[in-house]
Symmetry: C2
Amino acid sequence: MSSETRQQPARLTRKGQATRSRIVAAAAQLMYERGVTEATLEDVRAAAGVSGSQIYHYFADKQALLLAVIEHQTEAVLELQAPLFDRLDSVRGLRAWRDAMVEFQRRLQCRGGCPIGSIGSEVAETNPEARLAVASGFLRWEGAIRAGLGAMHERGELEGDPDDLALAVLAALQGGLMLTQIQRAVRPLEVALDAALDHVASLVRVDPV
Amino acid sequence: MSSETRQQPARLTRKGQATRSRIVAAAAQLMYERGVTEATLEDVRAAAGVSGSQIYHYFADKQALLLAVIEHQTEAVLELQAPLFDRLDSVRGLRAWRDAMVEFQRRLQCRGGCPIGSIGSEVAETNPEARLAVASGFLRWEGAIRAGLGAMHERGELEGDPDDLALAVLAALQGGLMLTQIQRAVRPLEVALDAALDHVASLVRVDPV
DNA sequence: CCGATTCTGGATTAGACAACCCATTTTTCT
DNA sequence: AGAAAAATGGGTTGTCTAATCCAGAATCGG
């Protein structure tokens, strides 16, 4: 798992793009459910409804597919939260975001953890390229949170460094997700995010919900 | 990887215990460095300086070895922190514990993450038995933190639920460790723990360090 | 419409790895 | 000391899986 990363076919037919997307989506789902190494290419092949050489037609090797999956999951995670990100410049908006995260995990029965974080944790020590891809995903996530907190700060409503607070909130989310995944209960996520947001709220002058 | 979990030889010679320990220690190190699935039994065999059948003489299968490793890492983590746990009943003690965690990661060059958490995250969805073992390790860890916060609370120094606060601190630690591992920088861990401890400190009446 | 390119199917290979087996040596217990 | 139990060495096997190959079908570009 360490080789050329670029896609092979420069041009992709519409059909080709659809097939490629199906492969990535199936791989993402399987890697999310079972982990990267436990998701075999044979599983991906079957789940995507393609056969044999298809995967290698669109990806150089499993590594290339993995990187595509990390991209895909990053987009999915950020897209899912996009409507909530816009309101992260108020304590009320932060609480709404928290509620959505908790509700999402509850629906999943606390399975899977963070789509990005669980991959990152698995590959961190053995796959530098994938680690960097995950790191870049986290950076974007952190940036989205910081945008809201930064707005509050510029409005003079928030004391304390918004950069630090955004990172702390993301860390609380990740730690909460992991403990929730392992304990199969939402309480760790709830408690972790509540503590982080209480801390933010304690630094807010106006808008004290 | 799902079978009998019990050790086979009821009695162990002193030499046998030493060999078994060597195998567990080697396996723990390799699983920490490379992850559970990437650490092959051949690697463990070589690292432990034993040969062929040795591993299967002491463990039913890789699953049994993994469970022993989780036990081992839990003990190691708790033992390492034991002297610091005693002082978690003050903000000063909490800060000292934070500094030790950060310093430890710095020494490891931010590699490996949490010895328990990284295993837990990897096996959570595919290995219920191992997931429960990790969950029980986290419960002990959480208990140690809660003991300190609980003491403060009973002394009337700490407002807020010590159970929730302990869980929040552990979550901040885990999230901070994971981001630190992925970014290869100690800042996420520092910021995450500082935020969590600031939050605790904001609920403390006396001893406001 | 036709040559070129892309896409698809299925079969195959080579290597890795968990797990098993048996013969031999070492240790323990009486 | 001697029998029983435990420990060790190394070889073997069967399975799983990533990766490759080639032939044929569909699609595109001019």
